[in-house]
Amino acid sequence: MLSKRIIACLDVRDGQVVKGVNFEELRSAGDPAALARRYNVEGIDELVILDITATLEARRALADTIARVARELFIPLAVGGGIRTEADAAAAVDAGADKVSLNTAALADPSLITRIAERYGSQAVIVAIDAKRETAAGDRFAVYARSGQTSAGRDAVEWAREAELRGAGEILLTSIDRDGTKAGFDCALTAAVSDAVSIPVIASGGAGGLEDFVEVFTAGRADAALAASIFHYAETSVRALKEHLRANHIPVRLA
């Protein structure tokens, strides 16, 4: 049976992992390769490197970061943040990324999804959707661009369907309402998108405790769940999370 995936996200700036990370177990604090190594040993299923760098010089450092992480990691590696062109995607893939994640640039020019899918295959293209509830009931969700700052004037379910048709291989769906709150994933949002597409949906935003993951895989019908800070802080080890999921009859890979 296909396992539900647990994905760790590393927010990287200037070659260092950021987001208020507590690295007391690591000799080299903030080093993405060291953190990736730890997650790999714990049994993470996939890694996402999210580049939150602004300058051109620092973006060159990103390729080095990808290469260092990819050198010793033999699980899928996705790279997102600031991928605007086919050349950006090619640089990430050449450095060792298996998948690229597109967000604002795909909203501005949806044909970018198709062009990258034609070059590298749909399995290499993730479309990231940042969505916010339009109603308290959670039956309509609006898409936001530019790290959640600008309304894209689109419905999340409809945009996910279009992304699939244009060649996306997976959807990375982040709830802006829940991101950073630790109040749990937005299961209504996740289920609405997951039911609308046949490609896998990765739920993101709001992971706080073990039970949140159980809910997003059952009520939310997610195929994968992504988290950052709860793993970085070692509040929850990947292994403990997977054991909890397995105890709740959710199929996972225990490495």
Partner: protein, 199 residues
Amino acid sequence: MIALIDYKAGNLTSVRKALAALGAEVIVPGVPGELADAAGVIVPGVGHFGATRALDTPWIDGILARVGEGRPLLGICLGMQWLFEGSEEAPELPGLGLLAGRCYKLQADGVKVPHVGWNSLAIGRADASLLDCVADGSQVYFTHSYVAPVTGDAAAVTEHGGRFAAVVQRGYVGGVQFHPEKSGDVGLRILRNFLELAG
């Protein structure tokens, strides 16, 4: 020296990296003649079966010549499907035909297609050297929509909407539907088994 065939069906970086980590010397031949010294041949690939059109007669002859010398051949993902007679994804295009059967699309019977993620291997044959030291139930990383049939050549089977061949081996000819280069220690073990077969 292992020859990794680049027929522009996806990116070879990950496969090269995994082989390098295992200490293998890898070449990516530019012309079929460069296959002559290969101790083993790997045909990787993701995407549409139509991409295998680039593996034309000179490449096929070069690969079959190595197989005829007892050099092992490993197909990965699309490369494994190419070992069969063909695929309904591109019905007009023949496969290499070393293995009997045709590839077909996974049925979305209550499951998502494409099949993306970690799934388990049900090992059905103890004699398949590709699976030396690989435990039954081990999980590996898949990403595909088409599959190869379960025949006598299947060494391990995976289930997603139906059962399909996850590992095939017939003598020196082997294939894996998943990505060993992305399947952690289990995947590296399978690549190591292939390298040992290549000597």
